[in-house]
């Protein structure tokens, strides 16, 4: 396990489904409904609790989108912090478990 790794996992209290590249998400706790753009969707789909965020950004985001790696990492961390504050993503420095949306 690399030092300072961040592991992210989707909350089990969510409903989620991809529609034309955008992820629709509804939080069961308060019925908040929102969508994610393609980049955020890639991170959300990869949030399996086992893959470090740094690896998701490097292997998925930077591979699929023409983005600066440092900027992508910073944006991803901000995105993760925001979703975590809403209970959408669980964040830990150790591996977690998560369900897989389609």
């Amino acid at each position: 396990m690399p030092e300072n790794s961040i592991y992210i996992a989707r909350s089990s209290a969510l409903a989620a489904r991809a529609l034309a590249g955008e992820m629709m998400v509804m939080n069961a706790a308060d019925s908040t409904f929102f969508t994610m753009n393609e980049v955020a969707t890639v991170i959300f789909q990869a949030a399996d609790g086992r893959t470090p965020l740094q690896e998701i950004v490097r292997d998925r985001v930077c591979e699929q989108f023409d983005v600066d790696p440092q900027q992508a990492q910073a944006d991803a961390e901000q995105f993760v912090a925001e979703l975590s504050s809403h209970g959408i993503l669980l964040v830990s420095n150790r591996p977690l478990t998560a369900e897989a949306p389609r």
């Binding site: 089990s12 209290a13 969510l14 409903a15 989620a16 489904r17 991809a18 529609l19 034309a20 955008e22 629709m24 509804m26 069961a28 706790a29 019925s31 409904f33 929102f34 969508t35 369900e99 949306p101 389609r102």
Partner: protein
């Protein structure tokens, strides 16, 4: 436009089935006087079959999934089905009479993060509710269950079907819903039985009594808006479609039959014989339903209500043509606004015809 409406429109435009209503059984522990179902089991899908269907629905892009029946909790495997659905991250709504929900079931429903439980309550008076369900103490049990669900913080909607035998009780049910912390909906729709028996239609609220409902702001919200005379249809209105049936929504029966809607008994295929997406994408019946625009409607295209009418293509189909009028909706449009419909004018009627002969959903024969 809310974000959810926007995504619904996107699914509609792309032809993605974003919402599916699935009856997992027609068996029931109540025998409601107005129910259109045949409660015998004619070969329901097994647990494995339903799980496979759910896998297919997730792949097809379904987000909103409603489980209904019959009474869903008469299936011993219902929680297993529900767990599978939630693992696939569907937004799940359950329609039930709640009689079989106790503290433990409520706790499990909370753990599984079910979005909403919709429960049928016909009256706040036990003698009226129980006479409709034909199950002694059913109101008492249903209310007890609603309390368990609310204690778990679950969202509950009380669905109040309004008919002749409980027509004076809707305000009592609404008050009961408020006391229980439940949302309230009222529905005056009664449909014939699956075998075509239309005797239950005698329970329908007479059209003449509909204005009292439609002009009650407690039930319909802004009366000015709800009862406004129809606006002349625009080109966009005439190129529009009736509803999401077959476009972004469909119904699956306990036997695996797929229909455009729970109220649209046009067989389009069976999941035991074909993949869901093959039925959804290639069924000639689904394609036909999808092709019908307001301008194609035989009578309604010339009706002043065409842009605001709740015309149900399923009810129209049951009356004889999916392109024809739905008398029940003509009735609603007329009594809502006071403006006669084209269907009425064509027939020279000063008020809508009431009981229309309808057929209902029948299982498709599946080879053994």
């Amino acid at each position: 436009m809310t974000l959810m409406t926007e995504m619904g429109q996107k699914a509609f435009n792309l032809g993605v089935p974003i919402a599916v209503h699935m009856d997992v059984t027609y068996r029931c522990n109540e025998r409601c006087v107005h129910c259109y179902l045949d409660h015998d089991d004619h070969g329901e899908m097994t647990t494995a079959e339903i799980k496979d269907v759910l896998d297919q629905l997730a792949e097809a892009g379904v987000f909103f999934l409603t489980f209904s029946g019959g009474e869903v909790f008469t299936r011993r495997d219902f929680f297993e089905i529900l767990e599978h659905a939630r693992r696939l991250m569907f937004n799940v709504k359950i329609k039930t009479n709640a009689v079989m929900i106790h503290e433990e079931e409520a706790r499990r429903l909370r753990q599984l993060d079910v979005d909403t439980i919709q429960i049928s309550v016909y009256s706040h008076r036990p003698e009226v509710h129980d006479a409709i369900t034909k199950l002694p103490h059913s109101l008492e049990r249903t209310i007890k269950s609603i309390r368990f669900l609310r204690q778990q913080g679950l969202r509950v909607t009380i669905a109040n079907v309004m008919m002749t035998v409980n027509s004076s009780d809707h305000l009592g049910v609404k008050k009961l819903a408020a006391e229980l912390g439940a949302h309230y909906t009222l529905d005056p729709t009664i449909t014939p039985m699956m075998d075509g028996d239309t005797s239950v239609l005698s329970l329908r609220i007479p059209g003449e009594e509909l204005p009292e409902i439609f002009h009650n702001p407690d039930l319909v919200g802004s009366q000015e808006e709800f009862c406004a005379p129809p606006k002349p249809p625009s080109k966009e209105d005439l190129e529009g479609y009736s509803c999401s049936a077959g476009h972004s929504y469909c119904y699956i029966s306990p036997y695996g039959d797929v229909f455009p809607c729970v109220q649209f008994p046009l067989p389009t295929g069976n999941i035991r014989q074909q993949k869901f997406l093959d039925i959804w994408n290639f069924s000639p019946q689904m394609k036909e339903v999808r092709s019908i625009q307001a301008k194609d409607l035989t009578v309604c295209s010339s009706c002043s209500h065409v842009s605001s009418c709740s015309r149900c293509p399923g009810l129209a189909y049951m009356e004889g043509s999916m392109r024809g009028p739905s008398t029940a909706d003509c009735e609603k449009s007329f009594y809502r606004t006071g403006v006669p419909t084209a269907n009425m004018l064509q027939q020279g009627l000063s008020k809508p015809r009431t009981t229309a002969p309808l057929i209902q959903i029948r299982p498709i024969a599946v080879p053994a």
